[in-house]
Amino acid sequence: MGNWERLVWNQRNVLLDGFLVTLEICAIAFAVAVAAGLGLALLRLYVRPLRWPAIMWIEYCRATPIYVQLMWVNYVWPEILGWPTTFYTAGWVALALQSSGYLAETFRTGIENIGRGQREAAYAVGMSPLLTFRRIILPQVLVTIAPSIVTQFTVIVKSSTLVSVITVQDLMFQSQRLVNVWFEPIEILTATAAIYILFIFAVSAAGKALADRLRLRYGLGT
């Protein structure tokens, strides 16, 4: 028990700092990914000239391993675009990039699954296509894809452990640093795994509760 106290409990502030960085970088990446995913889905569905570029971009995001994307954003983008300039930014950009590809497809199927009648009923009372999307389509899509969106957040959390590779000081980074200081991996890494597990379980449970409530309320979805 002494080891746990010495290696984990006494280091709790370091681990907590790391966890907060993880939380922050995942939250930013998630918010950006949701917005970008919706944007990409809309381009793919409704903007003819940009349909193919959007499809290629989405497929690129989905097909590239997160590690490759991280390296690419961190080392290639600054050369070409002059941005991002910090490892931290490169970290959330890479995470957002990959998830935006998946979320774009989630949004697209969600939008396509809303029956034509929903749209027509809106047009029939004089609503414009934009108003129809905002007030009628999007809310229904969000309700039906809420579980997938939450799942995508857990994917981001898991992938985020890789940002430690480019020295972003997240939970994984701090945990490895402790291991390198004490040369005692068992307790520290086990505790780290436990933290991730608990966090992801909590997110999934909250997501499921939310989805159940929405479904109950509107009688939508399966």
Binding site: V125, G126, S128, V143, Y218, G219
Partner: protein, 260 residues
């Protein structure tokens, strides 16, 4: 400029609609006076829904015109005689005046009953919230669903959902109500309550175009009946004539088949 006093409420002029090689409407013309009820009957696939959907431009007619109070929906005719196709936005302005009730109700499941009815008055007509609420409540009263205001559509029976859909259309205070087989997807025991509401509207002087398979209703409520066949008006007249002494052989056959 159109003269609303002289022109019929709705005028359909030589309407054609084709889907690829299939010509569904082949030159349909008729007019609906203010306060009158016109029923459209005909076999499945004869183009009834297409005709109704062309009237509010959910389908773009291939050629021909639809006029509301004398003004064409799809094209603007300028004083110098030139013509211009109207944008979606402008067509939306006309659609406010055309209430549509669909066979499948198409209520918005994420909004309450009241939310469904109040949405367009607020967002499209721009009414202040309180005024829109009052209007929506009055419309729900009219279809006798006031007590369901805060329910979500999924909890209502089909008949109740369709009555909400009628209230939603009424809340735009349209010049005309279009009904596309409003009772066809209902269980038989639920059609009565919807027909009752429609009958009430007709009695109140609502201008209505009703696509229906309910011949009893068409006969009793309509001022005029149109029998559509193969994309053309095959028979047209007062219900007593169309149902009693149809001139067209096809119309006679259609009605005879229904009686069996």
């Amino acid at each position: 400029m159109a003269d609303p006093a002289g022109a019929p409420c709705v005028e359909v002029v030589d309407l054609h609609k084709r889907f690829g090689a299939l010509e569904v409407l082949r030159g349909v013309s008729f007019a609906v006076d203010r306060g009158s009820v016109v029923s459209i009957i005909g076999a499945s696939g004869s183009g009834k829904s297409t005709l109704l959907r062309c009237i509010n431009y959910l389908e773009q007619p291939t050629s021909g015109e639809v006029r509301i109070d004398g003004e064409p929906i799809g094209i603007e005719r300028r004083a110098d005689g030139s013509e211009r196709r109207r944008s979606m936005r402008e067509i939306g302005r006309f659609r406010r005046d055309l209430g549509m009730v669909f066979q499948q109700f198409n209520l918005w499941p994420h909004l309450t009953v009241l939310g469904n009815v109040v949405e367009a008055p607020i967002r499209v007509r721009g009414l202040p919230r309180r005024q829109a609420m009052e209007l929506a409540r009055a419309c729900l009263e009219r279809v006798q669903l006031s007590e369901k205001s805060s329910e979500y559509p999924a909890r209502l029976s089909g008949g109740q959902q369709q009555r909400v859909a009628i209230a939603r259309a009424l809340a735009m205070q349209p010049k005309v109500m279009l009904f596309d087989e409003a009772t066809s997807s209902l269980d038989p025991e639920l059609t009565g309550e919807v027909l009752e509401v429609m009958r009430g509207l007709a009695v109140d002087g609502t201008t209505m175009i009703v696509v229906t398979h309910e011949m009893g209703f068409a006969r009793e409520v309509s001022d005029r009946v149109i029998f559509l066949h193969g994309g053309l008006i095959e028979e047209e007249g007062p219900p007593a004539q169309v149902f009693g002494t149809p001139r067209s052989e096809r119309c006679r056959q259609f009605l005879a088949k229904l009686l069996h």
